[in-house]
Amino acid sequence: MTMFILRRIAVMILTALCLTFIVFFLTNLYPNLEKLAKTQGNFRMSDGEVESYLGKNGYLQPVGVKYGQWLGVLPGYVIEDNEGVARGRCIEPGMPPEDAPRRCGVLQGDWGYSTVFKKDVFEIIGEKLALTGKLMFWVMLLMVPSALVLGVLAGMHEGSRTDRALSTVAITTTATPEYVSGVLFIAVFASTAVGLKWFKGTATSAMNDATFENFFLPVLTIALYGMGYIARMTRASMAEVMTAQYIRTARLKGVSFYNIVVKHALRNALIAPFTVIMLQFPWLLNGVVIVETLFNYKGFGWTLVQAAGNNDIELLLGVSVISVIVVLVTQLISDIGYVYLNPRISVS
C-alpha cells in the first residue's frame, strides 16, 4: 500500500510540475509581460521602455530559468542597474543585497507580490481559500448526501415511476449550469420584480457572517449542478448492481428488500460514485468561480477572475498552484478510497 501511495505521489508531483510550468509559460508570454509593464508603468510606454522595464525586473531571462527561480530551485536573479543599485528577485526594497537569501521561490514560501491587491500572494490565497473552504463545506454537505439518496432511490427499482421522476430531476440539474441556475434563483428568490425576496442576491456579507439568508443561494447553485451528475452515476451503478446475480442470490436466500439494498447492494453500488465525487473537484472549481462572481463572494474563485482579468501574474500563478494541488490531492484520495472500497483489488 505504501508503495502504491508513493508511486501515486511521484506521479502527482510530476503532474504538478508540468501544470505549473504550463501556467508559468502562458502567463510569461511576451504580450502578457508587455501588458504588465504598461499597467505597472504607464500605458504610453514605448517598446524600448517596456523592454528596459522588463529587463530590470528579470522578466527577460529564459523561461526555464525564470521558472526555476519562481520555484525556488535556482538562485534568484540579481541585476545591477545603471546607478549600480542591485535589484534582485530576493532583495526586498530597502534590504542590503548581501542579506538577501539566495533562493526565494514557492518552495521557500515566497509566493510573490500581488500587483492588484498590493499584498503578499501567500497571504491573499490563505485568506481566500478559507472563505471558499467554507462555501465548499456547505456545498458538499448539501450535495453528496442528497445526490446519493436520490441515486439510490432511483436505481433501486429501475424503470419505476419514482425512477423516472427522480431521473428527470437529475437530468435537469445537470443541464443547468451555474450561471443559468444562479440567475434563475436570484430572479425568483431575490429580485424586486418577483418580490419573494426570501434570500439575498449577493453573498458579500456572508464572507464575515454567513446566514441561511445570504449563503443558501450560492451553496444551492453549486450543489445542484454537481448533484445531478453524481445522482445519475449512483443510479446507473445501483441499477446495475440490483440486476447482478448475487442480488438474486440474496433475494432467493430470503433476505428482505431493505436488507438487500442496505447490506448487499450499497457498498458495491457506491464504488463508482465515490470516484466521481472526488473527480468532481476540477469541475466544482468552475462552479465556485462562476458563483463567487455571480454572488460577489470574494473567495478563491473571485480572486482567480481578478488575477486573470488584471494580469496579476504572481497571484495567478499562486492560484493555479493551489487549484492544481487541490485537484491532484482529491484524485489521490479517490484512488486510495477506491482500493479501500473495492476488495477485489488487493494491494500487496
Binding site: L26, P31, A175, P282, I290
Partner: protein, 394 residues
Amino acid sequence: MESLSWGEIILRMLAQFTPVWIALVVTFALSITFKRRLGLYGKLFDSPIGMIGFAMVMFWVFTGVFGGAFDLITTHGVLDQSASMKNKPPGTAFSKLMGAPDPDAYPYYLFGGDHLGRDVFSRMIVGAWEVIKIAPFASLFAFMVGITLGLPAGYYGGKLDTVLSFLANLILAFPVILLFYLLVTPEIVLTGIPVYMAAVLFLFPIVFLVILWNSRFHTQPARRNFYVGVTLVIGLWLYLGIAWNADPLGIIGFPPNLLVVFVAVVFVNSPTVFRIVRGLTMDIKTRDYVAAAQTRGEGPWYIMLWEILPNARGPLLVDFCLRIGYTTILLGTLGFFGLGLSPESPDWGSTINEGRKLLTMYLHPALPPAFALLSLVLGLNLLADGLREESLRD
C-alpha cells in the same frame, strides 16, 4: 401604441417561429413514417424521452439555422439600439427616441429591450445560431482527436498508453476555467499559440480519414488512391483555410477570436473522449472477431478503425450528444466571463452576463437566454438518454 398582453406576446412569438414548427413537423412525420428503416435513429422514435429530447434539440437547430443564417425569425437587428427601448418590459411597442420608427420594422419588442435598448427576442434567436455553429463541430473535432489517440492507446497499451494517458490526465487536472483564462485572451492570440494548437488539432481529422481509407482499401490501390486523394485535397484546403487562415482560393476563413474559442473547447473535450475510447477499445479488443482479423494478417489500424470502432459506436454516440451539451455550457461560460467573443456578441452566455447586472430590477433581459440554454442542453441530455436506452435494447 399599446403594449402587448402576455397572451398576445405568446401568440406573436409562436407565429414568429412558424418556419421552425413546419420544419419540426416535417422531420417528425418523415422519421416516424420510415422509422423501421432508419436503424438506431429510427428506434429513437420508440422512446418518449428520446423523442422529447430530439424535438427540443431540433427546435433550436432549426431556430438557429432559420433565424441566424436566413434571418427569418428575428424581429430586429441584434445590434440595433433604440434609446427609448432601454430596459422596457416584454411586449413594449417599438419606438425611437428621435424620429418615427421605420414603418416596415416589427412593431414590438416581444421580450422587451436590454440595457442598451436592443431586442432581447432577436438576440436570443441569433444566440442559438452562435451555439449551433460551434458546439457540434467542436465536439466532432474533439472526437476525432480523442478517437485517433484513444484507439492506439487502448489497442497497444504499454508505454504509448502510459504517455498518452499521462498527457490526458494532465489536461483533465487543469481547472477548465483557469485554462480558458490563460488561453482565451487577446494577448495569447497575439503570440499565435492558438494557431499552432489549431494546426495540430485540426490535422487529426485528415490523419484519421487517410488512415481509415488506407487500412480499408490497401488491397485495392486504385480505390485507395482515389479516396485518399480526395480526402487530402479537400482536407488540406479546409485545413489551410481554418487553421492558418491561408486559403489559396480565399473562400474559407476563420476569425481569429472564434478560432481561439474553438481550439480551447476542442482541447478541453478531447482528453475525456480519449479516455472513453481507450476504455472501450481495451474491452472490445479481447473479442474473437478481433483475433480473427489478427489471424488473417490485418494491419493494426484496420482492426482499430473497422473492427473495433464501429462496435463502440453506441456509447460514443451517446457521449457525443452529452458532449455537445457540455460544449454549449462551456461556450456559455466563456461568454459569461466575456472571454473570446466580442462584447456585442448575441451569444447566450454574454447576454446572461449582461442581464444579471440589473437582475434584481429587470428580469427579462437575462431569463430568455438562460431558458434557451437550459432547454437546449436538457434536450441533448434527454436525447442521449433515449439513445442509450434504445441502443441497449438490441
